[in-house]
């Protein structure tokens, strides 16, 4: 009879082995994304210049007063977008940027105020999308940190489905 503690350790080791093998296989298939098989999330930028950020209140004001001229961009996956997003926000997932870009480019002007958001304080997707938009020449791009959670918990307008 094995002592309980040994059994617990065996279960943990077996599970961890399954996990690491699965993870290695998963990233083999998507190796273009990263060369680090443990890289699920990227560390946050050490310092984000404040002019690249927009506060929740400012973002709300922009949404209320300038929607149509200003645009909200959801940087999360298409699936998360379909499950719920800020009303009128366009989907531009960091993971599938190029496929979604043409549709978004049709509505954006180079100087449009653009607010990019994802979910969670540590979420890096909005930073990735904002950087790529800026590289494409959009000058007025700002990030709303933790945007989805803040917006949803404030009870503001949200939509579901694939359309803004």
């Amino acid at each position: 009879m094995l002592p309980t503690i040994v059994r617990i350790l065996m279960v943990i080791v077996a599970s961890a082995s399954c996990a690491l093998v699965t993870n290695a296989l998963r990233w083999d298939k998507n190796s273009q994304n990263t060369d680090n098989s443990l890289a699920l999330i990227t560390p946050p930028k050490p310092e984000i210049p404040p002019e690249n950020l927009i506060s929740f209140d400012q973002a709300r004001e922009l949404w209320e007063t300038q929607l149509g001229l200003a645009f909200f961009i959801d940087a999360r996956t298409a699936k998360q977008y379909a499950e719920g997003h800020i009303a009128s926000a366009y989907s531009l997932p960091a993971s599938d940027f190029n496929n979604h870009l043409p549709a978004v480019q049709q509505v954006l002007a180079n100087d449009s105020p653009i607010v990019v958001y994802c979910d969670g304080e540590q979420c890096d997707l909005s930073h990735q999308v904002a950087d790529r938009l800026k590289a494409l020449g959009y000058q007025n791009v700002r990030i709303l940190i933790n945007g989805w959670t803040l917006w949803k918990s404030a009870g503001f307008e949200i939509n579901t489905g694939d359309e803004p």
Binding site: R7, L38, I41, G120
Partner: protein, 133 residues
């Protein structure tokens, strides 16, 4: 009678962990994000935990359901629940408004979750106490 209750609790608790584990196994990046939102672990640890923890949940849950090493797996599940309870309480204490990431879905980290986990912890403790192996 005790045997039936023990069986039902093992099925329920094991089933919950099998489900919770499976959901997260299919979407590690989402779970990694949920863990990161708790702001308890350094970044390098977040990914490792997001990859391994769901599998431990799944395996321990599946073994509990099938009656294998009940005591060891009930203990392991109990230990995980203690960690989850502490994490959620600390999130509440710090005023974080986040998803708990418990089952991958849309559940906030709140007192309801603490209560749910505490009930499951009691189930796990009871199984540990009642099981010979």
């Amino acid at each position: 009678m005790t045997g039936i209750v023990r069986f039902l609790i093992a099925i329920y608790l094991g089933g919950y962990f099998v489900y919770a584990g499976a959901v997260k196994i299919f979407d590690p990046p989402l779970f990694a994000k949920d863990i990161a939102n708790f702001q308890l672990l350094p970044h390098q640890m977040v990914n490792l935990v997001a990859i391994i923890l769901p599998w431990v949940e799944w395996v321990a849950g599946a073994m509990l359901m099938t009656g294998l090493w009940v005591r060891a797996n009930a203990t392991l599940i109990g230990l995980m629940l203690v960690v989850f309870i502490i994490a959620v309480i600390s999130a509440i204490a710090r005023g974080l408004n986040i998803e708990c990431g418990c089952t991958g879905g849309d559940q906030p980290a709140n007192w309801y979750k603490v209560g749910e986990n505490t009930i499951m912890l009691a189930m796990a403790a009871w199984l540990m106490y009642k099981s010979k192996n």
